[in-house]
Amino acid sequence: MKRIKRQRFGAIMLVIVTLPCWVIPAMADEFTQEDLTRWSGEYMTVVKQGRKVFTDGKLGTNGVSCGQCHPNASNTHPETYPKFQKQLGEVVAIWEMINWCIRNPLEGKDLAADDPRMTALQAYISHERRGVKLEPGKH
């Protein structure tokens, strides 16, 4: 008698616990076209912020902007990082090279790797280089 009660209790609990799955659709890895559009929009917003940081001359202390030497982010080669940066003497990711530029020609201070401006710069630089095949390590 007790066993049957426990089993029924277990069955009822199973139904109750899994009830959300019966009424709410699976959320983990299903996404819709609207999601894709929205996420892509978030990305492009950051790309546009990156373009602004790239060109406004405010990253350093001398008014020089990245865009002065890198029109359309040319000659930044994000597809080759991480790589051995001969002048730094070690393998680095692109954000470290970006910081080198901020410190030197722009006479400014490093950004943290996860600073929103660093993320935006990398988004812009990569976006201008989209479609170019990945060749990490290439000089």
């Binding site: 029109p71 000659n75 002048q87």
Partner: protein
């Protein structure tokens, strides 16, 4: 009075100069049939003197111009004059133009100035004229007719009606990749002037045209472009030996269109990438150009420089002074009828640093 320069003299002079602290020198050497007409001139361009605030200027660009001026002063034999190729200032402000003029005033030679867009768009060249004179003009030197053009004008609507202030207008033209910019041109008024100026010149007189924009259509995206290039080239076509020397692009380029040779000069300030390194659009460089070495950003003056041009026989040899790099010489080859890099023109002579991507 300088004696006429033979090739041997030139080479001796060049090696003597190399001995003087490895001076990089762009020697453009033209070989005139009559050697008494040989002469040399220097060409300094694209200094982009940039004000930070008050009396503070970007040290990097200052150094580039100061170095070019100092080295030009040490040239032996002395050049007959110096051309300034445009973009002396970054935003065309009075402090920037004044500072650029002050650095240039250390030169011991006569200077002929040409206009760049960075000099022009704040006040349409008004202050520049007070310092340097006419926006476009011509002069003759030892049998060669020189024309200096203002080739960075653009459509009237963009120049006069589009922007609320001169400062804004200058900022919009300052970024070569700014989609709000507008293509360069010589324009009808100046082309009319040019037609009249050239009307009385003998067609066998060698012609040298100093221009900031390329007088060709290379890549519109970065304004390596002159909108009325064909019309201007048509005016130059009747002359048997014409050379166009242009600035703006901050890199080695050269080309031959019919009987017109085109040569780009280096900036003293900073190099620009080649248009082919921009992945999102297709663009072209003159086919015969052997690119300069890729710039090493860790060497502040790498891929910047100035040039020394030798005129003889109506065509030029242009020697690029490239700090920390092997000197490059682009000379007119009378057999092929076009400019040629003296070291690297053949495909099998190219070196890895010349591949840009």
């Amino acid at each position: 009075m300088t004696k006429s320069l033979t090739r041997r003299d030139f080479i001796k002079g060049a090696s003597a100069m190399t001995a003087i602290a490895t001076l990089p020198i762009s020697m453009v050497e033209l070989v005139f049939a009559d050697s008494s007409l040989n002469f040399t001139f220097a060409h300094i361009s694209d200094s982009h003197i940039q004000q930070i605030k008050g009396t503070k200027f970007v040290r990097n660009w200052d150094r580039g111009l100061i170095r070019a001026v100092a080295e030009t002063n040490l040239l032996n034999p002395k050049p007959d004059f110096v051309i300034y190729g445009g973009d002396l200032a970054q935003l065309g402000s009075k402090p920037e133009l004044d500072r650029g003029a002050e650095i240039m005033s250390a030169l011991n030679y006569k200077i002929y100035y040409s206009m760049g867009e960075h000099d022009y768009y704040e006040d349409l060249g008004e202050y520049w004229s007070k310092l340097f004179g006419k926006h476009y003009y011509s002069f003759d030197h030892k049998g060669v007719h020189f024309v200096v053009l203002n080739s960075i004008l653009t459509y009237d609507e963009w120049t006069y009606n589009r922007w609320p202030t001169g400062k804004q207008r200058m900022l919009e033209m300052a970024g070569i990749d700014n989609p709000n910019g507008s293509p360069f041109m010589v324009g009808e008024k100046q082309r009319d002037w040019l037609r009249q100026d050239l009307a009385n010149i003998n067609k066998s007189t060698p012609l040298v045209v100093i221009s900031h924009s390329p007088l060709q259509k290379i890549w519109r995206g970065w304004n390596f472009w002159t909108e009325d290039a064909e019309e201007v080239q048509a005016l130059l076509k009747p002359f048997k030996k014409t050379t166009v020397i242009y600035g703006h692009v901050h890199q080695i380029q050269y080309n031959q269109i019919g009987n017109i040779s085109f040569h780009a000069v280096m900036a003293t300030a900073w190099p620009w990438p080649y248009p082919a390194t921009y992945a999102q659009a297709e663009q072209y460089l003159p086919k015969i150009t052997v690119p300069m070495n890729r710039a090493d950003p860790f060497q502040e003056r790498d891929a910047t420089g100035w040039q020394f041009i030798n005129m003889a026989n109506g065509n030029i040899d242009l020697h690029y002074t490239l700090y920390d790099n092997a000197r490059r010489i682009v000379a007119f080859n009378t057999i092929t009828g076009q400019p040629e890099d003296m070291g690297y023109q053949a495909e099998n002579k190219r070196i890895p640093p010349q591949s840009h991507y």
